[in-house]
Symmetry: C2
Subunit: 532 residues, 2 copies
């Protein structure tokens, strides 16, 4: 498997799991990157607030960063709560040691997103005043993007609290911050909701590019919600993840803001206070694991495993066992072989329908190859019948039994109703089951009569145990597996497919039951088997 | 949204992201739970080893646990690296304070999985010797499950290193650990691979139930792989997540072991040493975000957005504009209304086919309701034709134009080839587009002639702007959205659907183009429109 883009977060730990490195690592993972972390401080907090903070030694902060950069590397970095002036200094020095000076290409290599955490949403001060200056003067020149909210921007720019009253003020403040050496200032307008021309309550997020000295802005609906714990961390981590994937900053901030908005909307209750956002709203559980070297066919295994009892009855059915040891009465065998000839006609049509259901030439070819194999298989039936004095014409005229009609029309209807995957699954029990039976009986040392002068049916067993048939089975299984890997299905859909597989398996059993029940029956009667 | 089961991990932090609370939180999230954490120690490590460890004060460890338990609560707990004897004592005391004594129901409430981390995979000692006794005597009585590997089990039981040589030895050792008060001992056999009867290299994992004094064991293929960093943490966290979901222990350990095996198999390169497992192998990225209060129809928005240019051409087409202001030549209108009548017949068939494609009565009813609406709509066409002297019989006899055949047969074939979703998407541009056009023109103040004595077509506009038609559009959109939420599709499939939507949109444009082109043409000729 290919590696993923990597993102390092340098931040505090939130025991409640909704902010800090916990939120960052969740975000990074949700956006398809690999996350590493350097913890700057431990906080004891929950949704009601931050109750205690304990700093990590600066040596340890540096050590964590170094070890990650030296071995794992990173495609982007995010900083959150940096705890103290000393920590800020050591973070910057460690980056400089690894990437070289900020103004000589170091900034571009580090791909740093700075979330200038000063005060938590719940009001707890997260950065001493003396550290703010270090953040401004040492950290910002390293940053590709800084992501202040309005109070943070005022604070960093040295403006009085409440100075920003308009989008124009936001732009002026962002421009001032840009002078500190950061490439982009992404100023979040969440603290300043207003009514737009359409009368909707909105906020404006502004992106200032300090190189071109231009601003772009995006209007978003104001979300008056409770679960916003850790949104600042989450946004900055999402921007870093998008930068790690190689997205340009203007695109990264929009994707990140969309991600956060959806995470807020999809949040679920956690704790009594401001709960966390739902970081994993964009992921769905695979209903089956991917194939691995130790489990190469998880889909087929699931279909069979879900229907274990029926499957075992099918592949150990007395009918093929009676062919293997030569004890099956001839009229049962002849009933079977004639009905199976007619079955295969419809089975060929079903696989042709599967070919109709795709625009992909390879998949079309795969279905058509099965139809070719089916045609080849029917010639074996014709020969068997001729051996027992049933001409091709007579074989053609044999009426389909009710069991046969039930099975074949179920297969056709399922293929018609659903998509290509339905068509593959409903035809699978026949293909795979005959393969299991053929392989088992060809390898068996007991219960078989392999002398063809004594066992007229042994040729039938040999055919289904043969390399060409076993190869066709392997190809069919691979096709099933590939389809599911390419288009993962929901658990509900998977269950639906298992039930289709089950019904087809039960109809296979009925088909062989009918052959056994046909022994001694009047073969010329209109109804050729017992009602099932 | 409903809340998720919650899991608290009490463990060390791994800067490399592959073990410790990082691995735990990733695992907990991947298995569908909400994770919280209490950090006991910070390690500076990467895939090559653990290079430094710094403990967190015991007061802070206790504080983190308390704040999580008091506000957020938990459905299961996992402990990993506990750092020191003092930390172990404070963890146990904090649990006792919250849950009551272990032997009076506290153990059952805590649902604790203890990963007895003593030594890292890379050989670094992670627990001082004096702490092992605290782990044994104070921690194990609190545990529902303890998950030692073979060296850890020997160490905890006070056996000499290398004493376990057989599965029988594993069982004896597990039984001894069970005497310490833990309910289940899950002894991992990864350190003792052997060849089974079939000649395959396997390991045995053993689960000892100290209450019933019985063992169950599971044979697994031995995985001789490099990326096993953090597997111990991951397994214990996965067991805790399964317990949090309410699974019984024997089921939880099997699910967790399967999860870890798949995570190892799906690992990707990270760092130069033993890389982490792929915790998110079981998740796939949603190709579209879920609907939110601010983005209620993401699927429809995507389909239209992907085809923005074509869509705009369609819903601002000169043909309906010419009906709105009454300037459309009558022969164009009559060409349109007659062809649209025949279009609606096939459109009705397509929606009937959609009904055939489901077994769900509600979805069937929804499709049939559309067919009913279509029938109602055709009666409007009949009336318009009668007004201009074209009888119902004459209307029936009008030959379908090539544009009409192209569009309707494309719709039918797409519905036939694919599943219910294809059927819905290919019929959507007609339903939604006419809705947009009707709503836009009914609300317009310019470019419309609403006086029906002056504009014979105004009735047509009113029909598509009416409440009943707009209601039908809303229902159709909701049906589209619900289908995708219930069965998320892969990005490749989503793109396929966007292309179907695009083709149908272009065919809508062609349909109106043809009406305009029909002006002045010989309406009795066989080919009624220009080839498109």
């Amino acid at each position: 498997m290919e590696s993923l883009p990597k993102v390092l977060t340098i931040a505090g730990s939130d025991s409640g799991g909704g902010a800090g490195i916990q939120a960052d690592l969740k975000t990074i993972a949700a956006l398809g990157c690999y996350g590493t972390s350097a913890v700057t401080a431990i906080t004891a907090q929950n949704t009601l607030g931050v109750f205690a903070v304990e700093g990590i030694s600066t040596g340890m902060v540096a050590h964590q960063i170094q070890l990650v950069l030296d071995d794992i590397g990173t495609d982007a970095i995010k900083t959150g709560m940096l705890f103290s002036q000393d920590t800020i200094n050591v973070v910057v020095e460690t980056l400089e040691k690894h990437f070289g000076p900020a103004d000589r290409g170091g900034r571009e290599k580090a791909n740093l997103v700075v979330d200038p955490v000063c005060v938590s949403t719940s009001g707890h001060s997260l950065l001493p005043l003396d550290a703010v200056d270090a953040l401004r003067k040492r950290c910002l020149p390293w940053a590709t993007v800084v992501t202040p909210n309005i109070p943070e921007a005022e604070f960093l720019a040295g403006w009085e609290r409440g100075s920003i009253q308009s989008v124009r003020d936001m732009e002026r403040c962002a421009a001032e911050l840009g002078e500190l050496g950061v490439r982009y200032v992404y100023l979040k307008g969440g603290h300043m909701p207003f009514e737009n021309a359409k009368g909707r309550k909105v906020v404006v997020d502004l992106l200032w590019d300090s190189e071109t000295r231009t601003a772009s802005q995006e209007e978003r609906p104001f979300l008056d919600v409770k679960n916003t714990h850790g949104t600042g961390c989450t946004l900055a981590a999402a921007i870093a993840a998008e930068l790690a994937k190689g997205r340009p900053v203007p695109q990264a901030v929009v994707t990140a803001a969309d991600y956060v908005a959806a995470a807020i909307a999809a949040s679920y209750p956690v704790g009594a206070g401001a709960g966390p956002v739902n970081h994993f709203h964009s992921l769905v559980q695979r209903s089956l694991p991917l194939p691995t070297p130790h489990s190469t066919t998880p889909f087929t295994d699931y279909l069979i495993g879900y229907n274990r009892a029926a499957w075992e009855r099918y592949v150990h059915h007395p009918f093929p066992n009676g062919l293997a040891d030569g004890t099956m009465p001839l009229d049962s065998f002849l009933h079977f072989i004639q009905q199976d000839y007619h079955f295969l006609k419809q089975y060929g049509r079903s696989n042709s329908l599967a070919a109709y259901k795709t625009d992909n030439m390879e998949l079309m070819a795969a279905s058509i190859e099965i139809v070719n194999d089916v045609i080849k298989e029917t010639e074996m039936h014709v020969k068997y019948c001729e051996k027992y004095g049933i001409s091709r014409q007579q074989l053609q005229a044999v009426p389909e039994s009710t069991t046969n009609i039930a099975y074949t029309r179920y297969v056709l209807d399922t293929s018609m109703q659903g998509d290509l995957l339905d068509a593959r699954v409903v035809t699978a029990p026949c293909l795979i089951g005959y393969g299991h039976v053929g392989a088992r009986l060809l390898a068996a040392t007991e219960g078989v009569e392999t002398d063809e002068t004594k066992n007229p049916y042994w040729g039938w067993i040999k055919e289904y145990g043969s390399d060409w048939y076993q190869g066709a089975v392997r190809k069919g299984i691979q096709l099933l597996e590939d389809t599911l890997v390419a288009s993962p299905v929901s658990p509900a859909r998977l269950l639906e497919l298992a039930k289709i597989f089950e019904k087809a398996t039960l109809l296979e059993i009925a088909f062989w039951d009918a052959a056994i029940l046909a022994h001694g029956a009047d073969q010329t009667a209109q109804r050729l088997d017992m009602p099932q």
